[in-house]
Subunit: 580 residues, 2 copies
């Protein structure tokens, strides 16, 4: 797994494919690799949709191996949404297949001048780039149906929907799951628009003829992986909570903590939270039944299985199990309490290629502006449909929450660096507020999930309402996460490895056994720091300052019910998060 | 003229009016005063539409006097368009009337919570704030007609149209001209949205019972003013060019120089420039006739009279004489060559309250995106109408060119710090490119009009295609302009005072005689530097860095015809513009 495939879409005579070794990027995978390439090769002040930007698709270090839960994919570029560096992370089958093909990264680069739309096929024969205008503006599900006719369904597809083709700032890159559904997304930061700006509609990754990657030390690997899986099963969150209820188990937890942002971050509790909680959702899914309804992995080889499949009341597939962030964004954040509506919106987002967090928050801001009323489920569906169709109103929504606020003259846009906040109000969960403010990625809960020690009491125990110590918590989590995002392991393993030292050791041991290394925990921390320093450097050169490491001022001014708290972590402490 | 009127729209029980002396702001007027108040009182990282922003309306130091051409008005705030400090400058009758009332500044501040819409009357009795919801969403012309019923037409009105009420990032503050038409605008940076965010629809300034302000040394003043006017008459630009042809005399000049940005900055010449030139326009206006058709001042007491009145073919008033920037923005920039269409668009912009430069460039970007075709005059009118009505497409247009580009996924947005470039391509007029890049105001030709020495050979002679020496040219002009914007003198006096030392001396002498001072040219330069330092400080604290003092990268990448030049003033030189 040491090949970098470059596709220059601006080469004279049409796209040119070249291949090279990892070279100076040796030792890097996933986020480490995407960020390293972006930092080294993309001018920080370039336009995200211009010829100087590059899209880097990189599986993690463990891709293609038998290590449990290691099939996450990193997508990097300069973000059209934030203007800073971006790594968006996805499940799906592509990462493992790329790993089996020995591909460390695919880099899309150059100036796409024409109106050609490309379909790229990657298999053991090499890389083929074809023009296929018949794919134009196909939503992701229809695209996969069409591709299946010629490729079958044992490949993985990395694709953009109409949102990416229209170069919308909220546009995802979809990755097919084990059932060949485009339900897994590198969602945040508008990475789909960068793929669209290169004229690439779909990348088909065909693993036929490949085998699982062999560890350098198979015995050690097997033992370590067994211990790692055992640790995941043993921990309450990864062993019971997530498999049984999915991520939406968090709705009741956050609502009770008063940190659930309802009505566009207007209050910290949602009166109808019970209607859309993970418990309600699991009961509904069980009642309706169907394959994979209660548990499902976003990729094969996952031993957590936090996902599921959502069927309508007649047993028809509606979408994958909507995640907590999605249920919140389209549910409580919009005053909507109908799980079927949320599932419909989740499907539409996946189909057109929108990030559910950014879209839900965009709709919430539109509701704040009076475009539609809070709670208007039909209106919300119509807005996403318009975004998918590219109407003017849809183009506003598709540009993200900050642009919705600008177009409708609204102050209350819950964004940092232009990216919408996820499902934790930073006033009542101050640790995640620090991550929102200071992450290189814009507001992003996955960049340093301080909700764990603040609310879940995993990896520590700190008062979520107190500003004290939150900068330290966020710093450590941001460092650990950057490293984890480079391995290909799912972020959710963090619950177990933070609480159980032996599980952390087992995870590191799988990496060592796979690659013949002798990394320690300190090495993992150093890797995380290296990544964050690179990313911070890119952002600084793009014009970001400490003033951008702040929440919108209304979070420091308007108290949040029920705790009546504002965000009060001092700026000086925020400025120390990256002082390492 | 030493009173600051503050209106706190968030006071308990309704707006509270207070009055105070200049205090620490003594000696400042116009831009110096607006920027000083904004820098001292507005948190740089606040939201422009939030309660912490303030709108400062300040006439210049010479307001209310008999000094020629000294009735310009400054409006300052944190800009909703750029996110940095803003001073927008307008003609009209208000500045002189405020000066006669002894008012140095009106400051709108506080949090406007309700839906109340305020009408403020300022006269010798004091300040009255009334709620008048009947004014809601009235366009500027209808508003003035309605106000005339109760106030007559010998007052001045400072107002916002629907754009400002909707808090659009492109929204102006209109000021009535000598004919009580709302044709003069503090146009740039979205200042109307800040007035809208304070709930203020109109400020009526009634000078009844006031007299012209008396100079400290009347004899010296009279002599100096006479010499000043003589100098303006003597200079070719202020004595002949501007009075006869208006600012649109520049169309042919810039087009011949290859620096006229046609088709959204796609090329440096417009094939139908002759159809919309100042010469063509003047002949048409002469042919149609009517009061003020050929010359007209934006305020009484102007001896340049660069404006005029535009009538349709049947002799009906259409709008004031469209200026060069307007004719370019809606004309050549959009591939439109019909002066009646341009005049119609100018009227619509004034009526709804849009900056013509920002709107024209926004339409150009929409044309680049394929929303309508280049040259589609009916389409352009429809877009401005939609913006005025606040349809979704209109809200995109009304948010400015950068937002249009974001919503439609276009790279080529000719903006700096979010503000649209005016009518000079920075690749072929590199001096103005330096001003666009480095001004505290975003892309703004008036911030340092390097077109003068680059193209007009006024105040110097430097090759417009060469990067050499342009940073020095822009620096000196930015300093001089900041000072001039504080006096209330029109920027156009710069042509005469740059070329004729005795005219410069006469201008300074009018200030000295008016205020009993003994300022020298050096003092004027120091004032300019002081203002720029304040503004730069504000912007730095708002998060602006040298990376924001750059043109969009495509200007350094894509050569402009016919000279096939890119913008190549080195970043290091741009970084030296404010090193003084």
């Amino acid at each position: 797994m040491d090949r970098i495939i470059r596709i220059d879409v601006g080469a004279p005579g049409g796209p040119r494919v070249t291949e090279e070794g990892l070279g100076k990027y040796a030792g890097f995978g996933g986020r480490a690799l995407t960020s390293a390439i972006v930092c080294a090769e993309v001018p920080p002040t370039c336009h995200p949709l211009g010829p100087e930007n590059k899209l880097v698709i990189a599986p993690g270090l463990m891709a293609g191996s038998a290590a449990s839960t290691s099939g996450r994919l990193s997508v990097g570029c300069k973000s059209p949404l934030t203007g800073g560096i971006k790594e968006a992370n996805s499940g799906g089958q592509a990462a493992h297949y790329l790993g089996r093909l020995g591909i460390a990264a695919i880099v899309l680069e150059g100036e796409h001048n024409g109106s050609d739309l490309y379909k790229i096929t990657v298999n053991t024969d090499g890389v083929k780039v074809e023009v296929d205008k018949s794919l134009a503006l196909l939503p992701n599900y229809a695209l996969c149906e069409k591709l299946k006719e010629t490729c079958g369904d044992s490949v993985a597809v990395i694709s953009i929907g109409p949102a990416g083709e229209r170069k919308m700032s909220n546009s995802t890159i979809a990755v097919t799951d084990p059932e060949f559904r485009p339900s897994r997304h590198a969602g945040r930061g508008g990475v789909g628009a960068v793929m669209g700006s290169k004229g690439v509609k779909a990348i088909i990754v065909d693993p036929a003829g490949t085998k699982m990657r062999k560890p350098v030390d198979p015995e050690k690997f097997k033992a370590a992986n067994r211990a790692f899986v055992e640790g995941l099963k043993r921990h309450g969150v990864t062993g019971q909570g997530l498999p049984v209820y999915g991520t939406n188990i968090l709705t009741n937890v956050l609502n009770e903590a008063g940190g659930y942002p309802a009505y566009n971050f207007g209050q910290g509790q949602f009166d109808r939270a019970a209607d859309i909680s993970g418990e309600t959702q699991a009961a509904l899914e069980d009642e309706r039944g169907g394959p994979g309804s209660s548990t499902h992995g976003c990729h094969r080889g996952c031993s957590i299985q936090c996902s599921g499949t959502y069927y309508d009341k007649d047993g028809n597939y509606l979408t994958k199990q909507p995640e907590y962030e999605t249920v919140w964004a389209h549910g409580g954040n919009c005053g909507i309490s109908d799980l079927d509506v949320v599932a419909k919106l989740d499907f539409l987002d996946d189909n057109y290629g929108f990030d559910t967090i950014e879209m839900g928050v965009s709709i919430g801001v539109a509701m704040e502006a009076g475009v539609i009323e809070f709670g208007d489920a039909e209106g919300a569906i119509r807005l996403v449909e318009e975004a998918g169709q590219g109407t003017p109103l849809g183009c506003i929504l598709g540009a993200g929450a900050a642009t919705v606020a600008r177009c409708f003259g609204v102050e209350r846009a819950p964004v940092v660096k232009g990216q919408a906040m996820p499902a934790y109000d930073p006033r009542a969960v101050k640790g995640i507020g620090v991550t929102y403010a200071t992450s290189t990625q814009g507001a992003d809960h996955t960049a340093g999930y301080a909700v764990a020690p603040n609310i879940l009491k995993v990896g520590g125990d700190i008062d979520p309402l107190s500003p004290e110590g939150q900068a330290d918590v966020s710093r450590n989590l941001q460092i650990a996460t950057a490293a984890l995002d480079s391995t290909g392991f799912c972020l959710f393993v963090a619950f177990a490895i933070l609480d159980q030292q032996d599980t952390f050791d087992a995870m590191v041991e799988t990496i060592n056994a796979m690659h013949g290394l002798s990394l320690t925990g300190d090495d993992v921390v150093e890797l995380g720091k290296t990544i964050l320093r690179m990313e911070r450097g890119f952002n600084a050169s793009a014009g970001f300052t400490k003033e951008h490491d702040r929440l919108p001022s209304y979070f420091t001014r308007e108290p949040l019910k029920p705790h009546n708290v504002v965000f009060d972590v001092p700026g000086e402490e925020l400025d120390q998060v990256h002082a390492f």
